[in-house]
């Protein structure tokens, strides 16, 4: 009973927090965080209650379903446009529950962290207002049971992302990054919007569950819009929000925003929305295997592309951003091969450890006085030990070293890709795992180990962040360590699989994936061994180039080796490509600013000169005809008279003609 009644609070609370803070936050000054943090805390409690009930099966069965537990609340009417009827309803099923865990928990921790991180910012209240707005939007996104409402939330998270990236609006780069994020997202959104229309056209409803049931109903084969196309359009939306190639360009730039924002939005929650969307629409994709291949291909390509770029970036947040891209690529690859559960699993684990890493990087940046360039860091482990420790946990987790969280989820992706026959996905993924381990420990080496390369006076003033920042780090480190064990075990019948099986079993059946018993000492064990091996290789390689100071294990950083390797003939091109992010920004600049701008200018010229010119030309030529005719009026009577006489003659001639023709 009660939980249903509480669920709307998940939306109402953050919205209320946003409105209140927006209206009176300025007056609250440095106390402005109480309301936003409070409402998110309350929302977290509600969410946890709901999640517990849903995942433990305490919640009732969903209407029309035999095995899925969850809640449906509402609906409330939104657009009653005759045949086009949109209602807002809340749906909490296991999938939503998984997302709720990530969103509310990390959201809460980021809120708390921000109290410290943003404490000196004049826009303190504004920041929290935006955060609450984001939380509202994100929760709406995962809770909504209607495609159009999802789309609404989709756009709203885009808006909050825009506001938060551009939070430091005086920075031109921040403003530009915000704009870029919104517009690139819009590109994907438009695909999604068309997809929604296609869904409506095909099914006549926009309710998520109803429409999917109709879409995958094998008795209805002749849809106006082919199902693969619909799936592709929905995927377009996912690509935008989750920054998949080629719409990935906005995410690294989004690091212009304050670091808590990067952690919350651009690592842990919003960028996962695409994954969530595809997972939510899993039967739709399952009904369109061709689209699935596209999803997998784009995912794995993004993974390797982003990983390759992350190898050489020097901005600590950008490394993490590209890492996020890469990990999102993994998730899409998982979705594409049909490993929906693995994707969600990785989403959750990644949410925690990437959130941790970002918050940690924020702590680092804070410590070194807003410096983000790792070339001016080094040896920070001694100065900021808590940050160091938690980030190390995160790095190990993302590198896929057992038994931390990342190992379980990543391994599951790679394993399932292999088992489902997507060897190429597996192979590339494995290589990406190596790169991941490498660039993460490159980051660790450059930041925490070795000697400080920045100015001396800064070194002296470096200190650990306040508890309000470090406690969230610690709290995030815990799931980074344990989540894999908690959800990923036992192998073959893990908790997460049991949770999500009701959501995905339909799709799995449709895809007719091979389902073999788990063989720890067979193929699966081999796969684990392979991924662990590459991870270790990556870590070791990173140690060799960038040093390590781990207990007794101490290696110096060897910049000369880096230079030498990067100058090696076969590698120098790759190095430059990586450094320049494969020139995507340049390409986009060329396409949209140079060529697009020229085109727009040309069209404007066309508008002025050809269209308006024609209009004005009609006007001015009319007037010049008038000027010409005016000359007939010479002022001389005889000329006039001659004109009259000629007129008389012409008229006589025409009358004679008319008369001859008998009228």
């Amino acid at each position: 009973m009660g939980i249903e009644a509480l669920l709307p609070l998940l939306l109402v609370l953050p919205m209320a927090g946003f409105l209140i803070t927006a209206l009176i936050g300025r007056r609250l000054g440095k106390q402005a965080h109480w309301i936003p943090v409070g409402v998110i805390f309350l929302a977290w409690i509600v969410a946890m209650l709901a999640v517990w009930n849903v995942l433990t099966g305490a919640a009732p069965l969903l209407p029309g379903s035999e095995d899925t537990h969850g809640y449906v609340v509402g609906p409330w009417e939104w657009i009653p446009a005759g045949g086009f009827h949109v209602e807002l309803g809340i749906l909490v099923d296991p999938l939503t529950a998984c997302l709720l865990i990530v969103v509310t928990t990390i959201g809460l921790l980021v809120h708390v962290y921000s109290i410290g991180y943003m404490s000196h910012d004049p826009g303190y209240w504004r920041f929290f207002a935006y955060l609450n707005l984001f939380m509202f939007s994100m929760l709406l996104l995962v809770l909504a049971d209607n495609w159009l409402v999802v789309f609404v939330a989709w756009e709203l998270v885009g808006l909050s992302s825009y506001l938060l990236i551009g939070f430091w609006y005086r920075k031109r780069s921040a403003a530009l990054a915000a704009k870029k994020a919104f517009i690139v997202n819009r590109v994907g959104d438009v695909g999604f919007a068309v997809g929604i229309m296609a869904i409506f056209l095909n099914t006549g409803t926009l309710n998520v569950r109803e429409s999917i049931e109709i879409l995958i109903n094998p008795t209805l084969v002749a849809f106006p819009i082919p199902v693969p196309l619909v799936a592709l359009l929905v995927f377009a939306g996912a690509m935008g929000k989750s920054a998949q190639f080629p719409l990935h360009v906005w995410l690294p730039d989004a690091m212009e925003g304050p670091t808590p924002v990067s952690a919350l939005i651009h690592a842990a929650t919003m960028v996962n929305a695409g994954v969530y969307l595809v997972a939510r629409a899993n039967p739709l994709f399952a009904a369109a295997p061709s689209t699935m291949v596209v999803v997998a291909a784009i995912g794995i390509f993004t993974a390797i592309l982003a990983a390759s770029i992350a190898m050489t970036q020097t901005d600590i947040k950008r490394v993490l951003a590209y890492s996020t891209l890469s990990q999102l690529g993994y998730m899409f690859a998982a979705l594409g091969v049909g490993a929906f559960t693995a994707a969600i699993f990785h989403l959750m684990t990644h949410g925690f450890f990437k959130g941790l890493l970002f918050l940690g990087s924020g702590s680092v940046i804070h410590a070194v006085h807003e410096e983000q360039d790792m070339r001016r860091m080094g040896g920070l482990a001694r100065k900021i030990p808590i940050t160091y420790a938690t980030m190390l946990v995160g790095s190990v987790a993302i590198a896929g070293i057992p038994p931390l969280a990342g190992f379980f989820s990543k391994d599951e992706i790679l394993g399932e890709a292999f088992k489902f026959g997507f060897l190429w996905v597996w192979a590339v993924g494995l290589f990406v795992a190596l790169l991941t381990a490498f660039y993460m420990f490159r980051l660790m080496g450059l930041t925490f180990w070795g000697t400080f390369r920045g100015p001396r006076e800064i070194w002296d003033r470096i200190h650990e962040s306040p508890a309000v920042m470090t406690v969230p780090l610690i709290l995030l480190a815990i799931p980074s360590v344990l989540l894999g064990i908690a959800l990923g075990l036992p192998f073959g019948d893990s908790t997460i699989h049991r949770w999500l099986e009701p959501v995905f079993h339909h799709a799995t059946e449709m895809l007719a994936l091979p389902h073999e018993a788990y063989a720890l000492f067979g193929i699966d064990g081999g796969l684990i061994l392979a991924s662990v091996t590459v991870a270790v290789i990556g870590v070791v390689l990173a140690w060799r180039y960038f040093g390590v100071e781990l207990g007794g294990l101490r290696l110096p950083a060897r910049p000369e080796l880096v230079r030498e390797t990067s100058a090696r003939p076969g590698l120098s091109f790759l190095y430059r490509a990586s450094l320049n992010k494969w020139w995507f920004d340049e390409l986009n600049h060329l396409l949209f600013i140079v060529i697009g701008g020229r085109l727009a200018q040309a069209i404007w010229w066309f508008d002025r000169e050809v269209i308006d010119g024609t209009v004005n030309g009609i006007g001015s030529s009319t007037i010049s005809v008038g000027r010409g005719l005016r000359r007939v009026q010479t002022g001389r009577v005889q000329n006039y008279a001659l004109g009259i006489a000629l007129g008389l003659i012409v008229m006589a001639g025409s009358y004679l003609l008319l008369a001859g023709n008998g009228g």
Partner: protein, 197 residues
Amino acid sequence: MRAKLPQIIFALLIMGAVLGIAALLVVVLRQDWEDALLWILGVVLLGAGLLVVTMRDIIRCGLAMIVCFLALAGIYVLMGVPLLGAAQVIVYIGAISVLVLFAIMLTQTKDAPSRLVFQTQAGPAAIAAVVVAILIALAVGATDWHEVARRARLNTSEMARVLFEQFVFPFEIVSVLLLAAVIGGVFLAKREPGGPS
């Protein structure tokens, strides 16, 4: 005078030709003497008309116009409407021509006759006039006017009856018209005390 000799000879030649043709009409073609007279008067009418529009000296033009009007009066008499001929003489020669000559006197400046008699468009004007003439002539020739045999002369009482019974209203209107013209004409021609001389 010597210089004008060729012109005089030319004029005499034309007169001779006209009279000669008239005589020919009567004698050889056995036409009515009326025809001969009509021929002569017609030639005079048109010739004088041509002189009116072509002569350099405007006073001579005015005189030629009087000749022209006289010829027309003669034709009216020939046509059997002598009263109209009389009116023609009285109105056109007695009133209008005098008025015109008077105006000519008033407006002649010292350097007149002016440098050019004709407009630059005299050529096109001539062509237009010829075309008009041809058009009228062709139309006249090509049309059946349903005419009857030509009537005898119109006697004065008949004309008076028509004028004062059938056309009494137009007659009154003409008087109003003349009154209006006179009032306005007097106003316009009157010299203003302060106006230009």
